[in-house]
Amino acid sequence: ASVAMDTESTYSGYSHYSGRSRGSHRHGERSRDRHKSRSKDSRSEKSVTINTLPAEPLLGDSSLRGEKVQDDNWGETTTAITGTSEHSLSQEDIVRITKDLEDSVGLDCRHYVTRSIAVILGLLVFFTPLAFLVLPHILWPEKLQSCGTACEGLFISVAFKLLILLLAVWALFFRPARAGLPRVFVFRILLAVLVLLFVISYWLFYSVRILDSQDENYQGIVQYAVSLVDALLFIHYLAVVLLELRQLQPCYSVCVTRATDGETRHYNLGQLSIQRAALAVIEHYYCDFPIHNPALLSASKSRAAKHLAGLKVYNVDGPGNNASAGIAQSQSRAMIAAAARRRDTSHNELYYEEAEHERRVRKRRARLVVAVEEAFTHIKRMQEEEPKKAPGDVMDPREAAQAIFPSMARALQKYLRTTKQQHCHSMESIQQHLAFCITNNLTPKAFLESYLTPGPTLQYGKDHWLGRRWTLISEASVTSGLKDGSIFLLKCVDFSLVVTSRKIPYVQMSEEYIDPKSHKFVLRLQSETSV
């Protein structure tokens, strides 16, 4: 749990709102604390009055104030007191946990089965040539011709080829799985079937022509085993080409848009199936897209609500006149027409609000930069040659961070609140980052970089990697290949990504030769002579 950043407030028990999701502040535990801090009196007798309230009103302030009024009245008329609850779950948390439970079991099962099939196939493939070589010695050792020089040379070749095959299979197939995809890899299935058929056909031939007839030509048998190993190496080459090399050449350009705030990026992908393309997009998403901040979306939602709230439709003609569909359509048309005619000044409000916000952010930023620069001047790295200071003076990076943190804490807190990033950074993470910067001789500007601009999701703590569970929504089958104009959605708990793909056009390039001696220049003259 993240510790609240109000360094000037003290409190002992606290109770969360239980079972109520705060909409956009689902992950804002700190903001919940602050909400609690304003309306704590009526709630529980165990919480203590908070001394100083933060001066800056949060977004969603109007809803909070309304609620506060309600809470005061409620406290006066009832005597029941809710007990403090340390653990409370919102509705969304419950849904998420149940989904986690049921999905994890199914996925592990499939993963286990896949692994075991792969291991069995591998063992079969590895031991088949050895079996081919050893069985004649076991079954008919007397009839067997002795192994000459060439034959023994082939033993060495079999041994090394098997070793190479082993290493290659380990490198290609036995890597930790990156993700659990909805359907199986078509190519892997094809290759497994091919290998199985291949080995089975070799065994068939061996058992019919060699075991039954008890062939004495041992060199021929050894050569047969060598040919099997060669063919397996070629199949492995085929696997490398199909699974790894084919999608390296960029073929499609995909455009990825986040549905909530419109962040768009473009990537080049090769010929992949839709599920593998989705996986590549998700991996790029974690590196490139700035973190999803629900607090930034509430402004537009409130504006939209205001638009709708302005008009109300009354049916004057009385009910049951026309078919209900006709009424609904005419109602909505009337609303649209009225909204268009209404003199709406909300654009004006938006403009001034945004200008004001911009100014405020810049002012806070300036204060923050100055505070951090000043804080960094208070410590310096101790040189080896300096006379030994008292052990109390010498600090390790963590202590140094804790020493200079209070002087910049307030400015940083205010800045984060203005840019609505306060839920992304806990005090602990900020101090850790500060210790990291001090250890690696980073300048104040480098320290501030991660707070001034929202970074990619990778940058924040594990709990912010929201939605490691993604849903792929696609009209085409997810194992079919990516095509020009294919669209699919990647949905996660809070938002969704819309992905459209376009084929990279065929480029026809021609050449033109320029002789280096052909670069000649003359002066442009424009003289004027007076006569």
Binding site: R524, L525, Q526, S527, E528, T529, S530, V531
Partner: protein, 128 residues
């Protein structure tokens, strides 16, 4: 004012006679020329056809002999004392104008307003 290669150049010209003014040991005419076959015709602000490499009057000293004689800025000089000025280099033109032995230069100059005046007076009669 543009020319077709191989065809004789025709233009409506005005005769201007300028008396050189004696200024110290120099004889000056009171105007400046620009252009020439060795110059960049595209930068000539007075020419109609930007490939015209003729000699143009670029400046006139107010009150000088050239202004008194009737020369105007933007005039194209076609002949100086009988010497052709349509296909000369800038330096050759300057030399022809500043001969020390002559104190009078007789110029044939052409300008757009002359052509238009002739056209209007002749009505719809096309000029060869």
């Amino acid at each position: 004012m543009s020319f077709v290669p191989g065809q004789p150049v025709t233009a409506v010209v005005q005769r201007i006679e300028i008396q050189k003014l004696c200024q110290g040991e120099n004889l000056i005419l009171g105007f400046s020329i620009g252009g020439g076959i060795d110059q960049d015709p595209g930068q000539n602000p007075f020419s109609e056809d930007k490939s015209d490499k003729g000699i143009y009057v670029t400046r006139i000293t107010p009150g000088g002999p050239a202004e008194v004689a009737g020369l105007r800025i933007g005039d194209k000089i076609m002949q100086v004392n009988g010497w052709d000025m349509t296909m000369v280099t800038h330096d050759q033109a300057r030399k022809k104008l500043t001969k020390k032995r002559e104190d009078v230069v007789r110029l044939l100059i052409t300008r757009k307003s002359l052509e238009e005046a002739v056209k209007h007076s002749k009505g719809s009669h096309p000029r060869q």
